[in-house]
Symmetry: none
DNA sequence: TATGAATGAGTATTCATTCAT
DNA sequence: GATGAATGAATACTCATTCAT
């Protein structure tokens, strides 16, 4: 049996004319929950319409096809997450502090908005899907933000590095973060601060060595 | 249009009686390819049977339902990957060398067996409950292997650490590895060695600092 | 070749929006006919939807699965038949007259609603567990009605009998009736009155009486 | 879930060459059980072959298609039941005694051979089936036997009756018997003798007689 | 003789999407 | 604007039956 998304049973006020923007938000909220719970293919437009309290034809009128709806979800949630991270980074601070703030707000966000994160993370990898482009774009943007933070950290070092060179490191950092969140879900006795510090310690210290010219080589 | 898995159009030798074990392998091979290409829900049993050159009833008779078939794929591919990693680690070597070998063979494997990796990483993740168990088990086992490697690395240090304490680091490392592979697919002008070295540099150096008592703290 | 239920080939007025209750009746009517003609397993939802002039999804939306649809048929037809019998019994009459009216209306009903009877008697019987419950309930209710009639007939007699004691007799009477209807279908040159009288004579008077020339006649 | 027919788990002696007649009996025994348990359509050849301990190709070689197998089951079981009844009737006895003996052995048989009876009774009504002819023939033969017994009972009476005239009475009697057996299954605290007497009293004496205190007793 | 291996053909069921009201 | 009614198209799964060994 599906673990259904909670349906509120209070009679929804049908035929209440609401402005388009409100309707769209209702729909997106419901869609994010349902997609997060069941994944794209398992999610049914019927359930989304039920959870949203809005009939299917309205969903099609406002947000288009199921695919377009999913893309809209991804875009909104990705923007939210990126905004949260960007908002936490104060460019006046020292580079490591900037990274620290970014990571901490990332963990805080994932803790607070489970569905949002589930849609981005769980569904984001599915390939062969028509919307994989959207998903790849989100990943790429996230990497760019992190890569920029990392590049800034080398500004004062001997060997300055360009953001492009930081891309694989950023990718690894994002992946490490995602994976740590998964582990966190199973081991919730940690604070967002604690998680962010773990990641900082793991990445930053090693990164610092690199910046200073100490690197590891196989025998 | 679906980017269909290549169908050989030469008339497959039907009614050739082959032993069950051979057929099962053929089916799993085909299933991994198709699931990797389209994902679980988009993959149709019809296509799998066509690619395998075996009729659907045999698939059901040997491997059970679509879900069971998918799980069988996950299990086989997960075991293969783990075996590859374990086989590469020579416990006689220095800890960093062990980790290096493990990571390198991980990247080599993902490079060589694209479908296998795609099924494990991209598709299995995206699905809901029924498969998450299988996938979680694999993740957990992989983490255990890595955590053990990391713990070994502290044996000669002042502050020895238990494998359990290494779990979040292992999680981060696995996530970083997965994410790097994704990046690699889009930027294939790198060797498996190069990718593994990047990860070593990122993780090992930082880890080394930790072991020696240097850690990062927020202001 | 299947002896298909007559399909009207004039293009059915698709997309005509009708209220749910009307559609449900149409579906049940068609289903009773098709189930009566082919039996539960041989009947296909495709044919039912074709005969009903309604697409399959509507059938599933309104009446549920094939099994539920069959049960719904059984229930509706059983209720109809019982109503017909109950409606014919005038409790003001003499007991034998009441029985006579009940039996006569039973035969009339089976004659008039062939499909209805076929579903109840021929098809529901042949199936396994899931339906036997429904059918058993109907049988039981029918027996109760008959047993009550029989018990009433003893009210003025020396040895009054309770309805429960009449149960096996009622069972036998119902079975005799069902079987007579079968025979009647192969020998249709008899009226419903004639059939009911045969049964009255057999049951009420007793065969021994018949042999000796004593028979029962309606007033 | 199906209430499966009990499968013996002791390893059946495969490839043991047995004479055809033995194999055929094994198959028919299994088929009767499976058909009785699930009905014709729900019964699968796979299950029959499993219960019989004989591979499917042998079943097809010996008994033909599923339909032919079913017909063979009906014919064998019908013959057995008829033989049991015929064997119990001693033509030297008084007519009522003959009927009594026949009925009693009928109830004894149904009690002893549940599967046999279930196949004949439960499946016997299915119409629209290719084998309904066989089933109708069995019913007809049973009626003939009973009708003959009834006709004999009128030999000494003023108004002798022909067996054909007795057909509807025989039909009713058979139906009453079948129905009583069903009731008996739910109320097993009665002996075969008791059931047969109930039927005699009902049919032979007539309900009217019963009410007035005249009942039938075996000698 | 005996069977594991193999399949064609069929069927219940679901779901995204649209239209009449 | 808002929705109940409606469906085409797709797909997982089953089963009687046959054939190579």
């Amino acid at each position: 049996m599906k673990a259904d998304v909670e349906h509120s049973d209070r009679p929804r006020p049908r035929t209440k004319r609401l402005p388009r923007s409100v309707r769209e938000r209702q729909i997106l909220d419901a869609a994010v929950d349902v997609f997060a719970a069941h994944g794209f293919h398992q999610a049914s437009m019927d359930e989304i319409s039920e959870v949203a309290g809005i009939s299917k034809p309205m969903i099609y009128a406002y947000l288009g096809s199921k695919e377009e709806l999913f893309v809209a979800c991804i875009q909104r949630e990705a923007a939210r997450l990126l905004d949260a991270i960007r908002g936490a980074v104060d460019t006046g601070l020292r580079p490591d502090q900037q990274l620290w703030r970014g990571l901490r707000s990332f963990f805080e966000y994932t803790q607070q908005y489970r569905s949002s994160w589930a849609v981005l993370h769980r569904q984001a990898n599915a390939q062969g899907e028509p919307f994989s482009i959207e998903l790849a774009q989100w990943r790429s943007r996230t990497r760019d933000v992190i890569a920029m933070l990392l590049a800034r950290a080398t500004e004062s070092a001997e060997q300055q590095m360009q953001p492009e060179q930081m891309q694989p490191f950023a990718a690894a950092l994002v992946g490490a973060g995602e994976s740590l969140v998964d582990w966190w879900l199973d081991n919730p006795d940690h604070t967002a601060d604690g998680m962010a510090m773990r990641l900082m310690n793991m990445v930053w210290m090693g990164f610092g060595d690199l910046v200073e010219g100490r690197d590891w080589k196989p025998e």
